[in-house]
Assembly symmetry: D3
Homo-oligomer: 168 residues x 6
């Protein structure tokens, strides 16, 4: 019962509901999420060469991530509509791991936070990389979608724990 009360998206009878933020204050809020894309040698080479020349795989993914962040409230049923003041997507390539780390930062001045906007941007940017490379590597794996950071609002600053209580 007390746990149920903690779960702000379900009302006391267990039905889905938006959190009522009517009385909350609009404050500056930011969030950063990331994930990792694991590639094989062929698909990694294409991204890296491509990047050296034209950068198109990652540029298309970047645009997709930015546009998806703006669609978050259409995708996540109980999210509030938030007008973002910033979305930035960053890619870090690691040749030794054949991996790309995708990060998304979002910001707003509003009554509720932008965690979901960063997570959606990260996920859709990564799936766009998958889409553009699936002709050569259908085994691409997207992993470790996590929220790294948020600040602003009543619940304050969150920084991801490195050794969390999650079992896997």
């Amino acid at each position: 019962m007390s746990k149920q009360k903690n779960l702000s998206h379900l009302d006391e009878t267990g039905s889905a509901t938006m959190v009522d933020v009517t009385k909350k204050h609009a404050t500056s809020r930011r969030a950063e999420a990331s994930c990792t894309i694991l590639l094989n040698a062929t698909s990694y080479d294409i991204v890296q060469n491509n990047k050296a020349k034209k950068g198109n795989v990652l540029e298309v993914a970047r645009i997709a991530g930015i546009m998806a962040a703006k669609k978050t409230a259409e995708l996540i049923p109980l999210c509030h509509q938030i007008n973002l003041s910033n979305v930035a997507i960053d890619f870090k390539l690691s040749k030794s791991d054949q991996s790309i780390v995708v990060s998304a930062s979002t910001a707003t001045t509003d009554k509720t936070g932008v965690e979901m906007e960063s997570l959606v941007a990260t996920s859709i940017a990564s799936l766009t990389v998958y889409d553009m490379l699936k002709a050569v590597d259908k085994n691409i794996r997207i992993t470790d979608i996590v929220l790294n950071f948020k600040d602003g609002g009543r619940s304050g600053t969150f920084i991801r724990e490195k050794s969390s209580s999650h079992k896997l």
Copy 2:
């Protein structure tokens, strides 16, 4: 150069382009994707109890995944518009791992495949679980978003390799 030719979403000058499927045949096509959500003890209990009683966290996530599958061509820039004949989302809870495996199957009769539709459904369903539980567990991690299976079309059947050439 030969690799570049393999990458069907980039034309010979490296610019982004949709794959021209005008001359391909409409055939029956299916795809299945999955991912794993890793929870802490508190958030896992909420989902499991909730499931026993009302199932709302997973039911909201299921609806979100189905609706997102239908939006794939709006989210992934170079995806074709496909009218899906089926979307099904499945959840498997594991108490020992405090995890939920989310699977999405999609189907169509069209000129191109539905891999991205399954992957988008899986991702958005999982992010909806995150959204509904983030008040109690911001460290939730979504991992191993992969395509398990596709069939139909000229490239035939794909079944995910268990021991792939991906390093991590």
Copy 3:
């Protein structure tokens, strides 16, 4: 239990699911829905005079209904995406009742029917009338949203019963 099986949008465990239409045939399908808008003397006069001169209230409503029909699969979670071959909206004014009957006909050649498309078109056209008149009449009432007719597909032709088993 047998009733549950009849309810095609819920699977055997009671979870929401799209109906799998993969093996159904694309055939010509039509549907017609209607509803009634009840106005006061002032708002009715505006629509009628307006109609004589410029017709704008009803013309905006007509466009809204047509555009909404095309969005049905985005609005109704378990609806299939259907490309409509026709949408037509019709208005009948009755001075004695101070009412407008709104009808919407839709058509497609696809694997599943267009009942929801007609119902959505009718509803959104009517709500647009409300929106344009609410400055002078907030008591407008929209009533009797019903499906009058459908044909095509395995379940064949449906024509609404005038004296149905509904109590009110």
Copy 4:
């Protein structure tokens, strides 16, 4: 002529226009709308049993209504874009009437009201119930879509008149 001036969505030449709210103040605004769904014995039983067990018909409808409220400005041509601070959907079953009363409350802090958001939420939630039950009852009737209440803004509080001047 004076009536025409009252109709804020048409300019003086009768063309459609958005109301210019540039100089209005952002204030707290709420609205509540409702409608009634009339079922036959079979469809009513499914909803009621379903509710006792899993609640899925109404839960899918609830999600649909919340998501539709967020899409109001895309559906109603002359509506302003409003970021909602709350959407809540409520269902009341009446066994004697074989009916469901659907209510939707919405809130914002903005320059214009949320009447249409509540009405859209109510309508789409009800149409989703229709969609999920149409396999067993195509004669379902949605009736009495009305605005019950609004407050906030220059025009102040509105409470629906029980015996209105509408003829039917």
Copy 5:
């Protein structure tokens, strides 16, 4: 290099990015854009006669322009989401030129300007005219899409130069 810095939508490495407006102030902002549609004698007559009677070609275009303005952030990848306080579309017919000048004014109180909203409204209203007349005149030409005016924000007022430095 200094030019690159001026181009606010590309970061220093040349990748696409939204402009971060987090620290800007919400102020009243307006913009006006226009374009010209060039018709042949037949299509011009239809619009003009139509206008005298029902005005439907231009009324459908007007609605399309208003609705498109509200979708700007979905269409232009790096645009911020802005809730408009006004959109107004105006048409001026010139019989001697067989032309229609389409103007769109938009307004908001927000952290960034509405130039793109006016330009999108103008363009989509014009394309809607094309769509409604293409059965009789596929040679219709839309020309001179320009921003005429903006005010508000740090960069202040812009009024289009009549003799610009553009070569054609």
Copy 6:
């Protein structure tokens, strides 16, 4: 009166309506549209240098155009929903004119043509170029949006007349 009959988007009473394509056959259809963007020396140099290095202005515009083509039926009120089998956007820079010619080709196999899809792609790609360069050149002008070519369907092939009957 006979002209009115030619205008397929208005019914005999002058109200807006979709063209009923229910009985038309699905055939292969293509269309190509183009327009010209006129820049000043500074903005032209940025695009050209950018193109040599990273190509981002045009790559973002290309993605915007492809995604907008897929949204045509949401933007143009009376357009049918069409699933495109191809969208390709091409840019030709002319240093002497300080201009960019934007072309968009689209294709489908469906019951109606894709003229509007090509025109929408061209327009939104061009407006995206405007958006990315407006910080350095607000006087950019987009001109000569035209349909160059279509084939497929009952009305057959259209090729734009160079010396049309349009006065300007």
